[in-house]
Each structure stands twice: as structure tokens, then as C-alpha cells.
Symmetry: C2
Subunit: 161 residues, 2 copies
Amino acid sequence: MVETRWLDEKEARMWRSFHTMGRALSRKMDQQLTNDSNLSSADWELLVPLSESTEQQMRVRDLGRLTGWDRSRLSHHIRRMESRGLVARFDCPTDARGTNVELTPMGRHAVEGAAPGHVETVRRYFVDLLSSEEIATITAVNERIVAALTDEDTECEREAI
Amino acid sequence: MVETRWLDEKEARMWRSFHTMGRALSRKMDQQLTNDSNLSSADWELLVPLSESTEQQMRVRDLGRLTGWDRSRLSHHIRRMESRGLVARFDCPTDARGTNVELTPMGRHAVEGAAPGHVETVRRYFVDLLSSEEIATITAVNERIVAALTDEDTECEREAI
DNA sequence: TAAGATTGATATGTCAATCTTC
DNA sequence: GAAGATTGACATATCAATCTTA
């Protein structure tokens, strides 16, 4: 057992600020979507890729890959969105195991109505507060961390085999 | 109504990477705490300040200010932690409206047992992946965003008055 | 009246078990 | 057996309403 390397003051401050910022920002984003369009951030995460896809539809599997959500969460949330009329589900024509999700006219209308306010909020509390150097740094750091987490998953899978 | 300034490619990439990273990292942190110590990230957020306080206890109000949680979430979560024996509640001696939360011996034991693995994970997937310049940049950016969000809240309160 | 805290209803996220099809 | 998806049980988060005391 190796001696623990505790965080020094700067490291701890970064870690704390990361948490505080993440919570406060996601709360703000949620409030904006809810107040203006009666959508949750979770709704938004699914509605955007659907609205950007050519056929306004996508396989559940692909939505999962894009968002990083697990199957269970996806299934539950799509069911709720379906019950609110935002999306519809139907069997995948090319793979009988699959399910396709399609944006309804109401869902499309919701995305279009919410997008300007959403982007405005992203700019106001995030993007527009950063210089282009900072944007580059943050993107690089985020992608580095995701890569580390993803590599690890792959390694674990390999070990399991 | 002003024309919407949509995100350009670099901005969109940062915003996406921010989401992906946040989700993947918080998932990893949660798994580490759960597997090693049967604690959630939420437990951890409350246990740490309690364990660092001089008397191993704190007012609910102050826990709220530190974590940014709202009263309701705090109350529910403290109740659950109490039922698991991690903390105890008692009336605040100086303000009859208040409640104090105290770390139990079991709670203290849980913190001490989990801390090394937690820090190790924070380092492995976050802190140790960054240069000191990047740490400084990220801290500054996070704090700037929190300030923007907080100022806004204060303004709203002022307007409401 | 405002602050501190709790509660119940509801929405959301996670885990394990299950089912069907590849 | 593995992949795609769903379900039920449970844990957690949020909102509005409530209660007590400053």
C-alpha cells in the first residue's frame, strides 16, 4: 500500500470549483429549459441528436452511444418522453432486436422553440465568459479525461475476457 | 428579438466535451465510492465538510452554503444518512430553528476508509492528467462561471424586492 | 415577514433481472 | 453466448406546501 498523495491547495481548489460550477451551471440550464419550454436537460440531450438526424429518427442504441447513457436510463426516459408526446417508438426495420425513436411534430416544435433560449444561456454563463485560448484548453482537457476514462473501461473489458 | 448567435464548431465541441466528461467522471467517482466504501458521491459531499469541521458537526444551513444544495435535498439526504448510521441530528443550541448534524463514529470511519481511494481516483482521472497551467486556467474559469451564476441570483433577488 | 428545516408528491437515475433476436 | 431493449425495485433530486422560530 503506497502512501496517499493528498491534493495540495491548488488541486483541491480546482476540484472544489469544478463541483460547484458543475452543479450551479446544470441547475441554471435546467431551470431555463423548464421555465421557457417545459423540457428537462435530459429531454434536451435526446431531442437534439434526434432533431439533427436526417430522418428525425434514430436507433436507441445510437442515442446511447452519443449520450453515454446506459440502456436502462434511455429506455425509461424515452418512455416518459413518449407519454408526453415528444417522441414515438417503433420497431427497427433492419434488426428485430432494435427500436427506433422518432421525433414527433410536437417534439420538433419543442426543440425549435427552446433552442434560442438554450444557446443564449450556454453563451451567457459559459462560452462567452471564456477566451478562445481557454476554450481550446478546456476542450483538450475534457477530451483527455474522457479518453482516460474510456481506455480504462476498455481495459477492464479486456481483463474480463 | 435579437438574432440567435449559434455556437460555432469549437464552441459546440467544448460544450459537448464538457457534458461527456462531466457525466463519465461523476459516474466513475460514484462507482469507486460505492464499490470501495458503500458511499455515494452525495454522501461524500456531506461527510467531507463534517469530518473537516472542528467539532465533527455543522449546522444544516452551513452545509447548504458549502455544498450549494437546497434545503429539501439536504434534509432528505441527511435523513437517509442518519438511517444508515453515518450522521446524527440534534437541535441547534443557539437557534431553535436550526438543526445540527454530527458525524457518528461510523461516519468518521467511513470517511477515513474511503478517502485514500477517492483521492487516488481524483488524481488518476483528473488532477494528474493536467499541467499546473491547465489547473490554474480551469480553476479561474470555473470560479468565473460560478461568480456569473451567483451574481445573477443576487440580482434576481434584488429585482424581486 | 423572513429564515431554517421538514415533508410528500413527483421526476429522474441506477442496478439487477429478464426477454428476444443476432 | 452476446447485443438490444425493457422492466421493477430502489436510490436520489426537485418542487411546492407546511411548520416553527427569529
